[in-house]
Amino acid sequence: MSATTRELSWKIGGEQGEGIDSCGDILATVACRMGYHVYGYKWFSSRIKGGHTHYKVRLADRPVRSATGDLHVLVALDQDTIRIEAHELVPGGLIVADAQFSPKLPEGRDDLRLVEVGFTQIAKAAGGILYRNMAALGATAALLNLPLAAFEDYVAKKFGRKGEAVVAQNRQALTEAHAAALSALGGPSPLHLPPADGRGRLLLTGNEALAIGAAAAGCRVFAGYPITPASSVMETLVDLLPKVGGVVVQAEDEIASITMVAGAAYAGARAMTATSGPGLSLMQEGLGLASTAELPLVLVDCQRSGPSTGMPTKNEQSDILALVYGGHGEAPRIVLCPATHEQAFSDAVAAFNLADRFQCPVIIASDLALAEWKATVDPDDIDLDAVRVDRGALVSQDELDALGPGGFHRYEVTTTGVSPRSVPGMAHGQYLATGTEHNRFGKVSEDPTNRVNMMTKRLRKLGAVDFPGASVEGDPTGTLALVAFGSTYGAVREAAEALNARGIGTRHVHVRRVAPFPTAELEHALAGAERVLVIEHNATGQLRALLQQAGVADGRLSSLLKFDGTLLTPDEVVATATLGAAAETAPQEAIR
């Protein structure tokens, strides 16, 4: 193993409920505070205790936003972890394991080094088994060659309020395990990262970034029902909104959530709900109401493996067609696809402005990996100056007064399709908002001409949606195009970099909006590409279906489909891309 690499990957494994999460979070936080770029992700199950789980952290001197197949240090709290995870270790990789369970190297991996440290013994001496995580982190500091002082600072800040004794016990576990690891290694670790730049970055999940974006946009009402991986949107807002006068309601179900939000939107608040697949299914009727009554609400769908309960804790991007077309009837909506934590923030702001400007539901199509996994974000990349609040076409009280009683037509047919709206409390602005077809006053109407006018009015609005349809990176003239959306951004970007470095001209087109579908932008972005590989976490190629329906890149499309619950890695993209045309006929299940 080379002495200094631009990045190192670390993983801790053990039984669920043993503190694996906090261990990973602490390493990610300490590395972030030192100035490294971090990406942290987990493998967990829908259970509270027991079962193998792991947390992997990528540390680098440049932004990293994807899973990786490589591993340099494995921290094992049980032999299962070594059995299940050792295959990821690069040649010469290090395993540090609790001496308590008499760890053994896996067969045929004599290249690995096993470092035994008595995590349990050190923890008990420090004050109890709870300190085993600190012992694991002390050993981690030794193996990754990170300064122990950075971890000691963390402990002092984190546990200072609990008193000096707690800090001292944590520090004891850290330092003793650090010393024991160095002693077992017989000297300093061979692993080194380049020096960190010391910049203060944020470490947060996509859901946290999105929730702050929503709050910044003036969201004041959130209603939701707990569901993985969307709950943390609610949990973040429940901390933020009361401080600015807003309210968070844990509703009785997802139907109540979306209708509560529809009611709040009707009454003039900026309102949002967040859910995942099963909740999305329940919300379809509410979405149709918002489309027809022209209510500006925001819905976040943190996609996970489906259908039905699927694999609730695993990533997937299989709701896209449901987001674009779901529900009965033809209900206009806007669907945005943030790809990064920064975009989770900015798209939340944009979603509220689009909802108000176009008076329709706006869906933010996130996914589990973006929603739940932590990444470092440069504060400069969250542009607070760009946060603008645009409430769209609102009628003023003066205008209503001039119109007088009965003079206001809420659903006036206009050239843009957007009609100025009033909000309850405004005199002479009274109207009926209904999911039933209605006339310009909002009153129920089944007149054929009115029906056509109203349907086309609502559909026409979306022609003016100006949110970017796609981003283009890499070599914009490359003959190979990688097309993806959502959390695969990091993996595809790295893959495009690697392919371009090998001389395979590659453009990376990341779709940022799927409704209204950005046909012209994508045609332009893909012009001249000979091969268009569409990469998505689903089994049927839903983005590819949208491209085909729009007639984009006709005859040049192929797919990389991943739906096994694990995260896409850059290597997988490179491997499929370099298979060339053979990919179309390759026997792999995941390649269509």
């Binding site: 947060l204 959530s257 209708t259 509560m260 009611g263 003039g268 309102a271 149709g288």
Partner: protein, 287 residues
């Protein structure tokens, strides 16, 4: 001061001649005037069914929603603007079949709004199927051999669920109904008013005459005091809920908005977005 005309629209009602819903509409408009309410400050959230059409005939802010979801929608309206008089209206199918899941939650939250159910013991708009409040044995389109299910008892459910205002009216007894609506709206907290509103077209069992013979008016019983949950439940059980009047009024419990942390007097709909400094503080948590 607003007049009756201010709360009327020029829409001609789609209801059948003789429908009990006309009485509810008239009583609502009369109560609005008596309470000196303004059309622009009334938000009426209506469900799906014959009763849900009421929003077409009242000049106020009206939101006609998805079947069964009046209560969460109305709660959203109230959260967004606490200054509005929020009234949810719907039928027995809307409220006690498809929407039943929301009823008990609205009751226990005690949001300051009024829920009026126009209860005709039948599905009218879909032309005569069994309703959750249909009597056992009722022979209608979907139960040709007679309903085998016992009916929902909405008043008892509200009482046991912790409601702070529970009443029942009858669309034919206008003076009492107007008073009940006034009290329901004036109540601080969630007020539930079930209104017997006969269907003249599809319900041949529970007719005006039948109700007049069977309903007991609590106004005729000065001994009944509506301040005791157990007494109310006992009365409802003994009378099979065939009573009109205020069953229970409990002003001791705070309304939802009084308990929401950080809830401000300025309605949410009128609040400005957070300042840049406030957003920076939100982000700083993640350093």
């Amino acid at each position: 001061m607003a007049t009756l005309a201010d709360f009327k629209t020029d829409e001609k009602a789609w209801w059948c001649a003789g429908c009990g819903d006309f009485g509810v509409l008239a009583a609502l408009q009369r109560a609005f005037v008596n309470l000196d309410m303004q059309p622009q400050n009334v938000a009426l959230v209506a469900g799906i069914g014959c009763s849900g059409k009421i929003g077409n005939y009242i000049n106020s802010y009206n939101l006609h929603v998805v079947h069964g979801r009046t209560l969460p929608t109305a709660m959203g309206v109230k959260l967004a603007n606490r200054d509005l008089n929020v009234i949810a209206v719907g039928g027995d199918g809307d409220g006690f079949a498809i929407g039943m899941g929301h009823f008990n939650h609205a009751v226990r939250r005690n949001v300051d709004m009024t829920y009026i159910v126009m209860d005709n013991h039948i599905y009218g708009l879909t032309k005569g199927q069994n309703s959750p409040t249909s009597d056992r044995g009722a022979k209608v389109k979907s139960t040709p051999w007679g309903s085998i299910e016992r009916p929902v008892r909405p008043l008892s459910l509200a009482i046991t669920g912790g409601a702070t205002f529970v009443a029942q009216g009858f669309s034919s007894w206008q003076p009492q109904l107007v008073k009940l609506i006034e009290q329901a709206i004036a109540h601080r907290g969630f007020s539930f008013l079930n209104v017997i509103s006969p269907c003249v077209t599809f319900n041949k069992l529970n007719t005006y005459d039948w109700y007049k013979q069977n309903l007991r008016n609590l106004d005729d019983d000065p001994a009944y005091v509506a301040d005791d949950r157990a007494r109310a439940f006992d009365l409802l059980t003994r009378t099979d809920e065939m009573v009109t009047g205020v069953l229970l009024r409990d002003d001791s419990l705070p309304a939802y908005d009084e308990l929401v942390p950080g809830f401000q007097d300025v309605p949410i709909a009128h609040q400005a977005p957070p300042s840049r400094a406030e957003v920076e503080a939100m982000l700083a948590r993640f350093r």
